[in-house]
């Protein structure tokens, strides 16, 4: 049999020897040979007049496939995905932890899964109770007792948080003069983007020269740069622990100065997994923050499900939160009604947000309990430090000398660069060796960064295998003369290295025949 032989099948599209080993290539449905196949046989309307008042259209060119063909099409493509259910997923700042199946079981209970947001509150007391309880747990864990669970994901939570601050300043007549939001240069890109979306000017606070963490001096310089009392600053957005995997230990003093100047402290809670049950953000001066239920509280993400980004704030900012909050009157739960809280910034999301994720997150909290959640953070931090200390002799670990990291370890390609191998090449070699790469080229405070977050749900065996491969890569590169090999990786995958530059410069964004 010729290896190059291509067989044309009428209904399966093109099948080549690329399907060897039961790995299926799959054409788009539109590329499938159209035939008389159809999934459903509908009787032709017999002389009945069309109610639309239009003539029935003829063939509109939709692909025709039978049920098994449609099923195989999507199942085959689903096998090309990589997920936390496949293996280790060490994406820094993403907290790709295991999604417990207990969460799924509870979310599928008919009392949660088969209800409608427009049902009378009296018929969905259990569901409203779950949301109310979730608000309480989040309030307790953050120390910020006023909670709005509607934001659909982290970025919308950020938007909701900054809009809450903006609403406060609007109603106190300060919005015209407070036009600046401070962010450190290590922040998530969504932080400055959120501030800009809310109409603020973004002012960066440099951290590179202070070991990747905020210094009081740099903060003060930014706060008082254009107004000696800092009264043109609306707030500060800080991720804590930050994206270098370090705890911002100086933020309390900064929060005090910011508050004295009339600004508010927004915390990006993307990295909350490192500190749950250890410290309450309210205690280091945070006024409002978002929580990624899909990171810290184990609801699916990365294509596995919608995110959910509740925000928590102080009593002072509570009047301005988006609506509706879940409230309790006596023993009865209900959603806030329109007009009930005039100072609200308004509605950001339909109904009460991603209810299915609220059920999963509360299930996770209740199944771990307070002591269990504390241990989650401790184990997440332990795992990250195990990786950092195992690899600091093989890779440049810029901040390792300053002490422990939190839940993620930061390395760079500084040593490998000298041998012509970059972070991108290391990531591609990890794919070749059967590992999903870590977050690469982020944070931006240093060149060629690799941010590794193992989470607490990874076994020691799995982490050890990752460390072993990372060491082998470093040793191979150190020995030299592997530049060309690394530039061609991966080779075992169905597609080899893609031309990212060409894809970004000349993107093809639309299927065309």
């Amino acid at each position: 049999m010729s290896a190059e032989k291509t067989i044309e099948f009428k209904d399966e599209g093109k099948m080549t020897d690329d399907n060897r080993g039961l790995h299926y290539e799959e054409n788009l449905l539109w590329e499938k040979e159209r035939s008389d196949t159809s999934g459903v046989d509908m009787p032709k309307p017999a002389g009945a007049p069309l109610r639309t008042g239009h003539e029935a259209r003829g063939d509109i060119g939709l692909p025709q496939v039978s049920e098994p063909q449609a099923l195989r099409h999507f199942v085959r493509m689903s096998t090309w995905n990589y997920s936390i259910d496949h293996g280790f997923f060490p994406l820094g700042s993403c907290t790709m932890k295991h999604n417990p199946r207990l969460n799924e079981k509870l979310a599928r209970l008919p009392g949660f899964a088969a209800i409608h947001p427009l049902q009378p509150a009296s018929t969905v007391q259990g569901a409203l109770g779950v949301m109310y309880e979730l608000q309480n747990w989040l309030g307790e864990l953050t120390g910020l007792k006023s909670v709005c669970i509607t934001p659909a994901a982290g970025a919308q939570g950020e938007l909701a948080g900054i809009m809450t601050i903006r609403r406060k300043h609007e109603l106190s007549g300060e919005s015209a003069k407070r036009r600046i939001i401070l962010t450190p240069d290590s922040s998530h890109g969504t932080n400055p983007a959120t501030a800009a979306m809310c109409g603020y000017e973004v002012r960066n606070i440099p951290t590179k020269e202070t070991g990747g963490i905020l210094s009081l001096e740099a903060f003060k310089e930014a706060l008082y740069k254009t107004d000696e009392n800092g009264e043109d600053v609306a707030g500060m957005m800080v991720t804590n622990p930050n994206t270098c995997g370090l705890f911002e230990s100086g933020v309390k003093d900064m929060a005090d100065l910011l508050h004295a100047a009339g600004g508010y402290f927004y915390m990006d809670g993307a990295n909350f997994n490192a500190i749950v049950g250890k410290v309450r953000p309210a205690d280091f001066g945070v006024d409002v923050m978002h929580i990624n239920l899909h990171k810290t509280f184990s609801t699916p993400h990365g294509g596995g499900g919608p995110g959910s980004g509740p925000i928590c704030c102080t009593e002072e900012l509570a009047p301005y939160l988006p609506k509706p909050l879940v409230v309790k009157d006596g023993d009865a739960y209900r959603l806030e009604e329109d007009g009930e809280r005039e100072t609200t910034l308004g509605t950001l999301k339909g109904f009460q947000g991603q209810f299915g994720m609220h059920v999963r997150a509360l299930t996770y909290m209740l199944s771990h309990g307070k002591d269990g959640l504390r241990q989650v953070s401790e184990d997440a931090v332990l795992n990250a430090n195990y990786i950092l200390r195992s690899l600091e002799g093989h890779y440049h670990a810029p901040f390792a000398a300053n002490g422990h990291c939190m839940h993620e370890a930061l390395l760079t390609d500084k040593r490998q660069k000298e041998k012509g191998v970059s972070t991108l090449d290391i990531a591609k070699m990890l794919v070749e060796r059967g590992f999903h790469p870590m977050t690469v080229y982020f944070p931006l405070v240093l060149p060629g960064t690799m941010l590794i977050e193992p989470t607490e749900t990874e076994s020691k065996d799995s982490i050890d295998r990752f460390i072993t491969v990372m060491k082998e890569i470093a040793e191979e590169v150190e020995a030299g003369d592997v530049e060309e090999k690394y530039h061609s990786m991966p080779i075992a995958t169905p597609r080899r290295r893609l031309d990212e530059v060409k894809a970004a410069r000349n993107p093809i964004l639309r299927w065309k025949n």
């Binding site: 991108l424 690469v440 931006l444 990212e500 530059v501 970004a504």
Partner: protein
């Protein structure tokens, strides 16, 4: 070759009369990797020292190019939009990004010369 000045953020500046030509250094280009997008400033935009005059985006990252001086953008290098390789050329040969008419030329005194920049690079990761 004309005298060049440099910033700590790896902008390179060439001065012609009261106009500063702004580009990015070879180090910056290597750190960024292959560029895929350059966002040019609007001509006529008033900038203060430290404000963005452009954004350069590579497959790895996006970075802002800061104005080294106060002034007004008088020209943006639109040829870059079709040919990012131009940046690798010297400023005079077309490697500039924006030209800023300076309102306070004394700010040039804050910039590094070639020798100082070379020394500075040794201290950079």
């Amino acid at each position: 070759m004309a005298e060049l000045r440099f910033t700590r953020d790896h902008e390179v500046i060439y001065v012609e009369g009261d106009v500063a030509w702004v580009g990015i250094t070879k180090y910056a280009q290597e750190a960024l990797g292959d560029l895929v997008f350059v966002e040019l400033p609007e001509v006529g935009k008033t900038v203060s020292k430290g404000d963005d005059v452009a954004v350069v985006e590579s497959v790895k990252t996006a970075a802002e190019v800061y104005s080294p001086v106060d002034g007004e953008v008088v020209e943006a290098n639109e040829a870059l939009e079709g040919d990012f390789d131009l940046l690798a050329k010297t400023l005079e040969e077309g490697g500039w990004i924006a030209k800023v008419k300076m309102s306070n030329p004394s700010q040039l005194g804050d910039l590094m010369d070639q020798a100082a920049y070379d020394e500075y690079l040794k201290t950079v990761d």
